[in-house]
Every structure is written in C-alpha cells, then in structure tokens.
Amino acid sequence: MLFKIEPRAEPSRQMSIAAPLIATGLTIVVSSLFFLSLGYNPLVTLYTFFIEPLTTMNGISEWLLKASPLILIACGLAIGFRANVWNIGAEGQLIMGAIAATGVGLFAPWQDSPLLLPSMVIAGMLAGMAWAAVPAFLKDRMNTNEILVTLMLTYVATLILSYLVHGPWRDPDGYNFPQTALLPYNGMFEVFDYSYRLNTSIFFTVVVVAITWLFTERSFLGYKMSVGGVAPAAARFAGFNASASIWIGLLASGAAAGLAGMMEAAGPLGQLSPQISPGYGFAAIIVAFVGRLNALGIVLGGLLLSLLYLGGETVQMSLGLPSSIALIFQGMLLFFLLASNFLINFRIRKLAMRTA
C-alpha cells in the first residue's frame, strides 16, 4: 500500500479541533506503555505530572509565573513568524532586556522614585528592540539570514552578561562571586501575596496577548504581514512592503523578549547572575508553534509547557522518577502535538495499488 502526503486546499476545521485530542490520546497510550515498562503506575504518574502541581496555591502561582514570560515572548515571535521573519534569538533579546533593566534599577540616580520600575520597563523593551534591530537592519539592507544573526547574537548577549557580572557590575559585598547587588525595593514588582512568588508583572503579559490578538486578527498591517508570509510574491504584487514586515516582526519580538527579561530580573531573580534564563527564549519558539501562532493558542501552549516543567519536577519529588524520563515524556507530548498539527494543513491519502 502506498500513501501520499498532500497539502489541503484549506486548513481542515475538524482537524484543528481533533489534532490536540489525537495528540493527547497518543501521548496517554504511548506514555502509559513507557511508564509501565519502567515499573511506574501510569495513572499515578500522569496524575502527578499534570494535576498534582496545580493542587496548591503555591503550585498555581508557580505555574503562572513560569508561563508568563513564555507566553509573552511567544506572542512577539508569532508576529514575526507569521510574516516568515524567523527570530530564533529571543533568548539574547531577553538577556539584553534584563541587563538594561537591572542597569537602570541599580545605577539610575532616581533610586527612590516610583518611576524607577517604569523606567526599567522601558529600558528592558528598548534593549530587546535594539538587539533585534541589528538583524533587522542586516536583513533589510544586506539580505542577511536573520535566523543565523539572531541566534549568534544570543551568544554575544550571554558573553556581555558574563562580562558584567564577573566584572564591573559585580556586587561589591558578594565575595567576588559573579552576581550583581539585589535590586532596590522600588525596582521590583510587587507580589500578590507575600507567601507566593507570582507578581504584578503578569498584567503585562495579559496586555500583550490582547494586543497580539488585535494586531494579528483585526489589523490591516497584521493581515499584510501574514500575506507576505504565506505568499511573498502576491504580497509584493499588491504593493505590501517587505521591509516593514522585517522591521515590525523583529522589533515586536525583541520588545516582548526584552520585557520578559526585565520581568524576570525585577521579579523572581532580583539580581543578575551568569545564568538568568532557563531557556525561555528558545522554549517560546515551541510555545508559538504549539499555539499555532495564534494569541489564544499561545496562552494555552505557554500554560502547557509551564505545566510540563513543573510536572517534571513533581514526578521527581513524589515518585522518584529520574529527570531524564520526565524529559523524554515532555519531548513525546510536544512531538505528538506538533505532528498532529501537521494534519490540519496536510492530508494523507491512500494511493490505489498499481497492478504492473
């Protein structure tokens, strides 16, 4: 029997609903066999992975705290991805945002002013945008590959961070260990409850999700960019400006990533150290695609990925499952999810047997 994969004329509506269900079903079946073969009760393991982390207030606070930067960055990335502008370096833009925000927080002369935090927000966003402007400029003027440039600039950002925390910004009272002093009280987001870590920065994410939805679904500019992504020749013919797409795609994602970095620095971290991001910039790429580049889908994708992180820790703590098993499970789920999404735009058709 032969099969043929062919693109659908239109994305399948049934499939777009069925895809996550297929993925969930496959994950449950395959992971159950997997857990059984390792001697773990699959029901208990799945419960521990997906439900247990959310049974405490602290768990929910941590869930949202981790999902927030992922969603924020993925929203920015989606704007570019829709227009075929591939910003792979959100991680670097996040780091630059965190650096600029912390710099303002630690060294601005208006330390005691309530304007400290807002100025850090602006600094973080501008730094992320500036870092993304480099590949935008190179792509626009010299047609450089933005995938490479954004990725490479991530390493540059990591080195700048390393230089600062090992060198000029090192905490004078920190025994020369590579970290900055703690941000002042005015330069930190307020937590909702003193017992938990979730802080007011999550409102930024809510606003960005709304803006992204309006921009991609309701604005003419967003429409033009999507056309440029799907059919560049048609977009050129219609007179849509490709260079605007490049700049908007990269600057929007840079600003979102910079803001996310600022939120980490002024939220759970409170200072800079050589490692400030648990790979949010890269994980957000997965979130953007799991969410099908749609603002609401991204919210779900971010919540899912964040839950996968927490669940991976919970199964270690409660069941003693090795961390590598948790990673395999996470990979399996994401693979099924992205593979099922493929069926929305493509179909698999059986070919008639040839009788030669």
Binding site: T56, H166, Y175, N176, F177, L269, G270, G320, S324
Partner: protein, 364 residues
C-alpha cells in the same frame, strides 16, 4: 525574622497538609518521627563529579537511618528561578533538613529559609548564613597544593596547566595553590590558566586542554565537572590531576592523583543533629584535616620522592605548620602581597581575585 501570624499558620498548614496528603498517593506513608531529608542537585548523578560526591553524602544518611529517614532528591536544578520553587516545595512538603549543593542555590535559599523557620537548610559553597541556613565549603586549595607538589616533581617542561570553570575565588585560590605547591619543588615553574565559563562543556574543555599541552604544559589540572581534562592529558601523554572524584580510570595511566571531596561527615552530622533536635546553623570551611578534602591514591609510576614530598606537605598542612598561602607571597605583577612569616587571611583566600607570581593568564 517575621513573626508567624495566625493567617500564616493557616496558610502554611493548609499547604503542608495538602502536599503531605498528595505525597501519600504513591503509597509513601509518612509516619511521625521520621527524618525527612530533601536534596537538590545541579545535575543528574553520574559516575564521577560534583553531584556524585554529594549523592554519597545522601546515601550515607540513607544507610545510617534506613527506614527512619525519608529522602527526596531532585536533580538538574541549576537556575535561581527554578531553585527557589523547588526549595519552597521541599520545605512545604515538611522536610526537616534540606541540602542545596550549588552556589547558584544561595540566593533562593536565602529567600526561602526565613519562611520556614523550623526547617534546617544546609548550603554547600554558600557565603551567607542565616539562623536556619548553614553553609559548608571545602578548602580546595589544600588539595591542589599537595597535588602541585607532586606535579612539581614530574614536570619536565616546568610548565603546568590549569582549567577552571569560572574565575571565582573558589577556583582562583586552588589554581594559585597548585602553582605554589609546584614552586615549592622548583621555583621556576609557571602555570597557564584557561577559564571555560561553564562547569560542564566537554567540547570547550577538550580544546582548552589541547591548547595547554600545545603551550608546553605537561601536567594538567582541571576543576570542572567532567573528566575531559584528565582524558585529553592521558591521550597526549601528559600528567593529569583529577578533581572531586578519583579520575584514575580516565587518565590512561597518567593520572597523578585527585583531590576528592568527601561530604559524608557533613551530611551525617547535619542529619544526626536534626534528628536529635540539636541542629544549629554553622559556617564551616573544611579541608584535609577534616577529611573533607582527600587525596586519591598516587600514581604508581610516580618517583618515590614525589609521593613522599606530597604526603609530607599533606601532613604539614593538617598539622598547621604549612600554609599554602604563606609568605613571602607576590602577585602576578610582582607586587608583595604577604610578607615572610605571615599568611593570607581566611577572608583574603575566600575572596581572592588575583593570581600569584608565575601564573600566566587573565582573570575574567
């Protein structure tokens, strides 16, 4: 310290109750009177290395307490954001004693510890200690000094090489002491240094080791979390010095010795004290005399006088008659830092950010 209000007690009580209730699910019945111990590692436990040595401490607790201890281990927690969450969860789940095993766990533990005043926190390589947060750290530099004495005897090129994870005092100090040990045998020896800015990057470490060998170094000491330095040295017929675990199996017969980390006494003491209710937070800095730094068996091919000299240095450090940073001590630029008859203060060692005379390389 914040006074516990009724609201706090209700909140934590509910959270602890819930967490404990859920912990019961997989059948782990929590009996009263059991010692609950949590440990957070930066990487999975492998055959050698930093986390392996900490896991030996936890295993020692398991062996001694048996069914009287309930141990929860979570690995691959490195970044501060994740660490704070994990420490909160472990404390909220009612663990009596919680170990953090990396410098990067420090700030998170400092934030979590005050919220759980009844929990004992122990932080390895920490610098700030609180009422219920103790710190412990090893005097790595004593181990490198002894290994340096052996290296001084075998180095023909009078050049040794050092690979470090990060240019922090806990690495810079041992690098300096390695050269001081070697110079006690041959004052003309120099030491080339490369920092990787990573604890675990075998690719970069391999390049670094090859570079040092190409520069003429014939003894390589690598303070990272891999055996790569030892391996590359062995492949290129250079001597090597292992760190954390005995790395002789990787050295191709050229592994001089290793300065290994034995945290078992620290872990057992903390567990016993917690079980007896006598635990208090301490600041400990332990070395050869405390058996926390140990020298692994010397290579059989070492000339007997080299082994004897290294053992003599070890005995003198334990006795307190030899100080690895005793004067006269000059820095890289030749400026006098410690006069004859004096030695560098403990604070000076813990915050050392300069190289001694004869070091080749830059900090940062």
């Amino acid at each position: 310290m914040k006074r516990a209000t009724r609201r706090d007690i209700l909140k934590y009580g509910a959270a602890t109750g819930l967490a404990a209730g859920l912990a019961n699910l997989p059948g782990a019945a929590r009996a009263e009177g059991k010692l609950k111990v949590g440990a957070v590692y930066v990487s999975p436990v492998s055959e050698i290395g930093w986390t392996k040595q900490h896991s030996l401490g936890i295993e020692a607790i398991r062996a001694e307490f048996g069914d009287d201890a309930e141990i929860t281990v979570i690995d691959s927690i490195f970044r501060p954001q994740d660490a704070e969450r994990v420490f909160r969860q472990l404390a909220g789940a009612g663990n009596d004693l919680i170990f953090g095993t990396s410098f990067s766990h420090g700030t998170p533990m400092q934030k979590v510890a005050p919220r759980f005043p009844k929990t004992a926190f122990e932080h390895c390589s920490g610098i700030k200690h609180l009422k219920n947060l103790g710190t412990f750290e090893a005097k790595y530099f004593e181990g490198t000094y002894v290994a340096g004495v052996a290296a001084g005897h075998v180095s023909k090129s009078a050049k040794i090489g050092f690979i470090g994870g990060f240019p922090i005092p806990d690495i810079v100090g041992p690098a300096n002491a390695l050269l001081r040990g070697a110079q006690s045998v041959n004052p003309d020896i120099t030491c080339n240094v490369i920092f990787l800015n990573s604890w675990f990057d075998p690719g970069k470490e391999k390049e670094a080791a090859k570079t040092l060998i190409a520069q003429g170094c014939d003894v390589i000491c690598s303070m990272t979390d891999t055996a790569t330095g030892v391996q590359v040295a062995g492949e290129n017929d250079a001597w090597s010095i292992g760190y954390a675990s005995d790395m002789a199996p990787f050295g191709n017969g050229k592994h001089l010795t290793a300065f290994t980390l034995n945290w078992v006494p620290v872990y057992l003491q903390a567990a016993r004290d917690t079980a007896n209710g006598t635990w208090t937070s301490n600041e400990r800095w332990l070395g050869l005399a405390d058996d926390v730094i140990q020298m692994s068996p010397y290579n059989d091919d070492l000339p007997p006088e080299a082994t004897a000299a290294a053992e003599k240095a070890r005995a003198e450090i334990i006795a307190g008659t030899l100080h690895p940073f005793g004067g006269e001590l000059k820095d890289q630029s030749g400026a006098l830092r410690v006069e004859t008859g004096q030695s560098l203060s403990d604070g000076g060692i813990r915050s050392i950010d300069w190289f001694v005379e004869g070091m080749i390389g830059k900090l940062g």
